[in-house]
């Protein structure tokens, strides 16, 4: 205990800023603890990060442990970061003026819209189909299980780019698509190329690919929920579908979400593959522009910065969605960064308000 908390006796305010890590662990071994406890007075200003504990009628101040090697690491990494930032700013090769000119032009923003559209459609359709596949794989029916397994096996085996090109050329195999009785007469038929343009082929390819991965993620999440939960729901007579949506899935979400977020982010960046279908999404568009003006680096930078911005937004979204599904998982949820910031600000404010009073003493 003495090694964790250093008891400060009427310390002058100047020492509060730097915690003395060189102080010997046991401050006064000869003195009984009670004597040193009582020595802490209200006049000694606690540091912002320290927590006053009341023990034995008096207040003990806790100073968190510090590791010297952490600081060495911080200094080393800090130096590397500084060198990198310096290069970004001073190296003329990055060509920041060109970057600035193209970053928010209409064509780039429109292409970004297409990228987002592909991501959203691919995610929604992919996870919807993935949920069905996961349910099939967990079904008691061997036929459904096998079909789902085969789907996942096939779509995980085929490279996405091959699959996309295949859908793009589907009209080569099937010129028309008909609605009607299987193996019987058809009621209506359309040209495949009218129904499935390049964008349609891209969405289809991304969604089918995504579904195979989503299915495994969802299945893993469902399996992670304690069997007793299903049994209790079943013993209460809760209908089958409701058991899944109300009891099992919300709990499965805790392990589904981190993996699902990974998938969404990799799909978002993976949309750049769609450029092989000549769809004007973000990556295709910057390629077109640097094909014209040959300023490759700043235009790649335009795409990169947009990918980073949107991935950041997705990550923030992920944090709050995960928090939502963590309800009841811990006795109390930790504060959000925003709440922590606000609390710290409030702490600084009250301390500032208290300071003149301490000086006056």
């Amino acid at each position: 205990m003495p090694s964790l908390s250093t008891v400060r006796r009427s310390a002058p305010p100047t020492t509060t800023a730097s915690p003395s890590s060189s102080a010997p662990p046991a401050a006064e071994p000869t003195r009984p603890p009670a004597a040193s406890i009582s020595a802490t007075s209200a006049a000694s200003e606690p540091a912002a990060h320290s927590v006053p504990l009341s023990g034995g009628g008096a207040v003990l101040t806790v100073v968190p442990r510090r590791n010297r090697w952490t600081w060495v690491g911080v200094a080393g990494v800090g130096l590397l970061v500084a060198m990198f930032v310096n290069g970004l700013v001073t190296n003329p090769g990055w060509d920041w003026p060109t970057f600035g000119r193209y970053f928010a032009t209409e064509t780039v923003v429109r292409a970004l819209g297409t990228t987002i559209q592909l991501t959203v459609l691919g995610t929604v359709a992919g996870f919807a189909l993935g949920l069905v596949l996961a349910a099939m794989r967990l079904s008691s029916n061997a036929f459904l299980r096998t079909v789902a397994w085969a789907y996942i096996w096939a779509f995980r085996s085929i490279p996405l780019i091959v699959q996309l090109l295949f859908w793009f050329n589907i009209a080569y195999l099937y010129q028309t698509i008909s609605v009607g009785v299987p193996f019987g007469p058809s009621f209506a038929s359309v040209e495949t190329n009218d129904l499935l343009g390049a964008l349609g082929a891209a969405v289809l390819g991304l969604a089918l690919h995504q579904a195979a991965y989503a299915a495994e993620i969802i299945r893993g999440g469902i399996l992670s929920v304690d069997e007793g939960q299903r049994e209790a729901a079943s013993a209460l007579g809760i209908p089958r579908r409701r058991q899944l949506t109300r009891i099992v899935l919300p709990q499965a979400m805790r392990s589904i979400l981190p993996n699902a977020a990974n998938e969404v982010i990799s799909l978002f960046k993976g949309t750049s593959i769609v450029s092989v279908l000549a769809i004007p999404e973000l990556f295709y568009q910057v390629q077109v522009i640097y094909g014209r003006n040959s300023r490759v680096v700043p235009l790649l930078l335009v795409a990169t910065v947009w990918y980073i911005i949107l991935t950041t937004l997705l990550s923030i979204g992920q944090y709050y969605v995960e928090r939502h599904f963590a309800r009841g998982s811990a006795r109390s949820l930790p504060p959000t960064p925003l709440q922590r910031l606000r609390a710290r600000w409030a702490g600084i404010a009250t301390q500032a308000a208290r300071r003149p009073e301490a000086v006056g003493r």
Partner: protein, 253 residues
């Protein structure tokens, strides 16, 4: 009068292991039955066959005269579709050893869920009733808490309120106090005792012989999947006629 719970020739095997062997039991409405028996004797399995959490190989189970889990055609029993079984279960309360509360739902939501989704009752109505039930188990102030914020004894009392909310014909308890610290056992047994006083039909698997003696109308002693002995507690517990019952009681008392 039809019995609240009626088991005839119930037999159940896991592979070659016969866990229940031709069990006959008839429990009258408003009575408390305590099932005693050594570990592995089939107590949990017996309880689970009553609400068809466990399928049986032979025999029949009736609750208030209704055949559970099967439809009779001639002298064959056909298993019912799952939705019908779920409907039957919503009239049979079950309290688990490990509570099995839904951790992502508040205490109130735990209690309200099944009456609304299984019995299609109005949520607002059920909520009022749920609060009364929580008051009855002494947890009126915990309605908004999550299960993990409660002690084991409190969680088990919520589980009892959750079972009661379905207004069941019979409530089955599978070792409701075995997962609890000794000082929390009393509060849960007190709630069960009060249900018994109010005339509910209860079947309780427990190792609490004192509770059995005080509350049970009938004590059933199970061993090796067979009912070895049954009768009022003063007979089965205090004057057992079978050697195996005596040996078991010597060990637990």
């Amino acid at each position: 009068m039809t019995a609240a719970v009626d088991l005839r020739g119930v037999t159940k095997s896991f592979g070659a292991h016969r866990v229940l062997d031709d069990v006959d039991l008839e429990l009258a409405e408003g009575t408390v039955t305590v099932v005693l028996g050594p570990s592995g004797s089939g107590k949990s399995t017996l309880l689970r066959t009553i609400n068809h959490l466990e399928k049986i190989d032979r025999g029949q189970v009736r609750v208030n005269g209704t055949l559970i889990g099967y439809r009779r055609v001639g002298d064959r029993l056909h298993e019912l579709p799952e939705r019908d079984i779920l409907r039957q279960r919503s009239r049979i309360g079950f309290v688990f050893q490990q509570f099995n509360l839904f951790p992502h739902l508040t205490v109130l939501e735990n209690v309200v869920e099944a009456p609304v989704s299984a019995q299609h009752r109005k949520r607002s109505e059920v909520e009022v009733e749920a609060r009364t039930l929580l008051e009855r188990v002494g947890l009126a102030d915990k309605a908004a808490a999550y299960p993990r914020q409660l002690s084991g004894g409190q969680q088990q009392r919520v589980a009892i309120a959750r079972a009661l909310a379905l207004q069941p014909d019979v409530i089955l308890f599978d070792e409701p106090t075995s997962a609890l610290d000794p000082e929390l056992v009393g509060e849960v047994l007190a709630v069960i005792k009060e249900l018994a006083r109010d005339g509910a039909t209860l079947v309780v698997v427990t190792h609490e012989v004192g509770f059995a003696r005080e509350v049970a109308d009938t004590v059933v002693f199970l061993d090796g999947g067979r009912v070895v002995e049954q009768g009022p507690p003063e007979q089965v517990i205090d004057h057992p006629t079978h050697e195996r019952t005596r040996a078991f009681l010597d060990r637990v008392l």
